[in-house]
Amino acid sequence: MKEIMQEHSGAAENVPGISRRKFLTYAGGIAGAGMLIASCSKNDDNTPAPDGTVDVGGNDKGVLNYFYALEQMQAYFYRKVCDNFYQNLSQYEYKAFQSIRDHEITHREFLKNLLGTSAIRELEFDFGSVDFISRTSVLNTARAIEDISVAAYNGGMHLFTTPSFVVATSKIASVEARHCSLIHDLLTFNNFSEGTDANGTDPNKGPAEVVAATSMYFKTKISVNNLPTT
């Protein structure tokens, strides 16, 4: 319990609209639930809960599935962007979005194959809040997704115990940061490393915080309650 509180309490400062106290309560609740489940069932079979929530599982495969879920989200979003481009798109943006879409599809399918039979199912998403013909709407959503994706890799890779998974996902993490930089620059030129702190470092977020921050895009809800905490 203490470990889980430590994992998420500091990063809670970065969540708009969630006070630190509230967040601690929330993380504590999750921790409690996780312990309860862990104590009475083996939970690495990704069985959907009665309400359709997909549990990413535990251990290294759970962490891979957690990243797989985030890559599914990103690939879905960029596919929508490229299926129906916004107005007044530049040639550079056209090329960039198609490339980003293909990178995210590659990440998604790579993680799926790496997981093999342990992979969670294909999830459903809802980007109904996005006006896909509006450049501002698309770029703002892309920025939110890339920011959270960078923070998720930075704050999730330490949960692996297998070095080869760390190596593989660190190769993806910097590509997400490259996307993030471009999207920020497209919104406001020279804003590529917006959000670094006084140490010049990017924020990191733990899985519970990432799931909370992206839940509006997940039609199929996911649970990260059984992921390792250190």
Partner: protein
């Protein structure tokens, strides 16, 4: 960073540390995350010190190595901004971006040297640089980098892409310590953001913020090419990526989707071109 908890942990194990930083914790509570970030090197340094002689050698080596890279990057941009005050070789619309990178690199130097200093660990010496890439002779391929903007950007791209590879290579060495691993990753992603920005503002046709095979858009020196060695991998963990699972994925996309790490020896060898022996 979960600084408050780190501070708590250390204080429990080391009451003396708690006394030393107690006044800072007061500040920390009143001013929030900015001060929190500033206090982080102090806490991380104490962590190394506390564990000294156990699992710290790999951590120390990785941090000292990272600092040597940040020294170079910082001095590179500081020299450029300095030169620009008289020559204005950086276009005005690009200047805020170059200044932001300088700011980030300075913060990385302060952060890493703060951690090492607090740990009482030996500080790697800051070398004298030869940004011409001439091993100290001053006549390397990048002569004129601080007056010819296109050359400066090529070199900036080389340093940033190399920085990404260097941090990535160190990440597995930090697995024993979650806090250090996250700190390294949080810098690693910032280096990648810098690299992407430099690639974009170079405005070279076909050059994107990500690395396509081993295409660099760099003409200054063929030797630079070795910095991109291996970036053309189109399979990862034994999984072929071209047209993976029936999706239309080109060789270019397959190589772009993953950045490759470099080991210390590879990075040190490349950096030696820019250091006066």
């Amino acid at each position: 960073m979960n600084i408050n908890n780190i501070l708590n942990d250390i204080q429990q194990a080391d009451p003396e540390f708690g006394e030393r930083i107690s006044h800072r914790r007061g500040i920390l509570k009143s001013f929030g995350s900015k001060i929190t970030a500033i206090a982080l090197p102090l806490a991380l340094g104490a962590m190394i010190k506390k564990a000294y002689g156990k699992t710290t050698d790999a951590v120390y080596d990785a941090l000292a190595f990272a600092l040597s890279l940040e020294y170079l990057e910082h001095e590179f941009y500081a020299t450029a901004i300095d030169a620009n005050t008289t020559s204005s070789f950086i276009p005005a619309e690009h200047l805020p971006g170059i200044q932001k990178i300088l700011y980030d690199e300075k913060a990385h130097v302060d952060f890493l040297s703060g951690v090492l200093s607090e740990a009482g660990a030996p500080m790697p010496p800051k070398p004298t640089y030869d940004f011409s890439g001439g091993y100290g002779a001053g006549n390397g391929p990048y002569v004129g980098t601080f007056s010819v903007y296109s050359k400066f950007l090529e070199q900036a791209q080389v340093f940033e892409d190399l920085g990404v590879r260097a941090y990535k290579g160190q990440v597995p060495n930090l697995m024993a310590n979650d806090t250090f691993m996250r700190a390294a990753l949080n810098i690693h992603s910032v280096e990648a953001k810098h690299a992407a920005h430099i690639r974009m503002i170079r405005n070279v046709p076909g050059l994107m913020p990500w690395i396509t095979a081993v295409n660099t858009g760099i003409t200054t020196n063929n030797a630079t090419q070795k910095i991109y060695a291996g970036e053309d991998m189109n399979a990862q963990s034994g999984i072929p990526l071209i047209n993976i699972n029936g999706f239309e994925i080109s060789n270019e996309s397959a190589t772009e989707a993953f950045d490759e790490p470099f080991g210390r020896d590879q990075v040190t060898k490349i950096l030696s071109e820019f250091i006066k022996p």
